[in-house]
């Protein structure tokens, strides 16, 4: 059986695409580079939207990227069930694209934060989190200036009621996000966004705080191989 193919998107200003591709390969998948200006998903089985500063974060983080030619293909595919994971800037892009509800705003303390962060896994019913257990605490790096998740009260209540809060900050909220939200999913569960960086936490050698990020990639590859 050929390896599952996970697309990794590069926009101008994306930073983490190489780490994301490496993490996919580390877990045994094939990483397929996708280019923002090329409206072609190349038949991938899942898509990873990595972090960075796409389009220089001009206007709002993710606001310009959301209209990239590739996104015109990705948005309908995600609505039709294609598994998509967005981390950091990728999460911001998913919110701007309305694939996920709410928005990400400047950290409450205004500082850019780069540190190891405790994260509690709240929902394992997604193709990206099935290898975790509910309530499991993991450690991942965070590095962002605009990670404060906000949504109106009704949206927030619906997220909580439907189990769409996938990750919560543990041991302190770094950015003032509502309900300590670090990551969410769409109603169907195939689209997941989070501020922390699993792709930076898959190898001991690189000095990551943990290898807890591996679970994201093993989850998606199992899902793709089994379906």
């Amino acid at each position: 059986m050929s390896a599952a193919r996970v697309g990794v998107v590069t926009f101008p200003g994306t930073l983490d695409d190489q780490d994301a591709a490496r993490a996919v390969r580390h877990a045994g998948g094939e990483a397929v580079p996708l280019w923002h200006a090329d409206p072609d998903l190349k038949g991938v089985d899942a898509v990873f939207l990595p972090g960075g500063f796409s389009y220089g974060d001009y206007l709002r983080c993710g606001a310009i990227s959301r209209f990239a030619p590739l996104m015109e293909e990705l948005i309908p595919a995600a609505r039709a069930g294609l598994p998509v994971l967005g981390t950091c800037n990728g999460f911001q892009i998913l919110c701007e694209a309305h694939l996920l509800p709410g928005a990400l705003m400047r950290n409450a303390g205004l500082h850019y934060i780069c540190r190891d962060q405790g994260i509690r896994v709240e929902n394992t019913a997604t193709p990206w989190t099935s290898d975790f257990t509910e309530g499991q605490e993991i450690v991942l790096p965070i590095k962002h200036g605009e990670g404060r998740y906000v949504a109106d009260e009704a949206t927030l209540a619906a997220l909580e009621a439907n189990g769409q809060v996938v990750f919560r900050y543990a041991g302190g909220n770094p950015n003032g996000s509502l309900n300590d939200i670090a990551g969410i999913r769409n109603e169907a569960g195939n689209v997941v966004g989070l501020m922390p960086h699993p792709e930076h936490a898959v190898e001991d050698l690189t000095g990551a705080p943990s290898t807890d990020g591996r679970g994201f990639f093993t989850s998606i590859l199992k899902k793709l191989v089994n379906t």
Binding site: L59, R60, A63, F67, C95, E96, P101, G102, A103, M105, R106, N107, A108, G109, L110, R148, V150, A151, D152, G176
Partner: protein, 82 residues
């Protein structure tokens, strides 16, 4: 030619951390009597034809689509005085 102004402001219920930081800095600079500051964005859109209702509708569409994120922001569209 006409100039249309789009003002984008955070919705009142959204915490404006930047505005708060500005408000806290003002007393240190000797400006007193400021109870709050909200920070927003202003776009000046030059359009080729007159700023008639159809043109303004088009600018409102631009604002909804790109200039503002209506999840967190409100916008107003006005025609600039010549």
């Amino acid at each position: 030619m006409a100039r249309v102004i789009v003002d984008v402001m955070l919705k009142p219920e959204i915490l404006d951390a930047q505005g708060q930081a500005i408000a806290r800095a003002l007393p240190r600079l000797g400006f007193s009597g400021v109870s709050s500051v909200r920070q927003g964005k202003r776009f000046e859109v030059e359009i080729e034809g007159p700023a008639d209702e159809a043109a303004l509708d088009e600018v409102r569409k631009m604002a909804e689509t790109l200039l503002a994120n209506t999840v967190i922001e409100d916008f107003t569209v006005t025609v600039a005085d010549e």
